[in-house]
């Protein structure tokens, strides 16, 4: 099996999965709530990249359409959570 572009696509999806696991560690153990939102934003962008890689691997265009819609939804989610959190006071210890 030669090293073609399909190999690097599936390796790239695996590397992005590792990065996602590392970000989920911060999402679980973040000391404050902005940390968790930053980790959530990171996971969302990684999902967008992973869907682009999977769409090129399976040669399906609909994965990239879903990536665009996912990017829109993650942007709206992050903005809404940030506006919600702006009025609250964080408990600092």
């Amino acid at each position: 099996m030669t090293f073609t572009e399909f190999n690097i696509l599936i390796i790239g999806v695996a590397v992005m999965a590792v990065g996602m696991i590392v970000a989920i560690v911060r999402l679980l153990f973040g000391p404050t709530s902005p940390d968790r939102i930053v980790a959530l934003d990171t996971v969302n962008t990684l999902v967008v990249g992973m869907m682009i890689g999977l769409g090129a691997y399976h040669e399906e265009v609909i994965f990239i359409d879903i990536a665009i819609v996912y990017a829109v939804l993650s942007f709206v989610t992050t903005l809404v959570i940030a506006k919600y959190m702006e009025g609250s006071k964080e408990e600092v210890n």
């Binding site: 572009e5 970000a23 902005p34 990171t42 990684l46 942007f75 964080e90």
Partner: protein
């Protein structure tokens, strides 16, 4: 035999993967919300943009939609990171004790004083 188009796409994808992995590890290693925001948003966005361009170069039929994803990420991700930083500052998350400059706090205080006077 690998042609030149595939090699260019693989180089783009490799750069993007390196940036994304470093950004994800910086999210764990850095000490503060604002420092983590630097690592998370900038380098993860750069990595996703580079991966989309690489995929579009490898498979030319995917290039328009990949460029659409690139434009959308470039428009929206700085906005969301700005909103997160503003929300974190206004909800009272303290800066790291090794931070050297805070321009937003005095400006915010001056703005509030001006608003209270008028």
């Amino acid at each position: 035999m690998i042609d030149i188009q595939t090699i260019i796409g693989m180089v783009f994808i490799s750069i993007g993967l390196l940036f994304q992995l470093l950004g994800a590890f910086g999210l764990v290693r850095l000490p503060d919300v604002y420092n983590r925001l630097q690592a998370a948003t900038k380098s993860i966005t750069m990595g996703a943009i580079s991966i989309a361009i690489g995929v579009g170069v490898i498979d030319l039929s995917l290039l328009p939609k990949a460029l659409l994803v690139v434009i959308f990420l470039m428009l929206t991700n700085p906005l969301s990171s700005h909103a997160i930083a503003r929300a974190a500052y206004n909800s009272g998350v303290p800066l790291w004790k090794g931070s050297v400059v805070d321009r937003y706090g005095p400006a915010l205080k001056k703005l509030q004083k001006r608003r209270g006077r008028s």
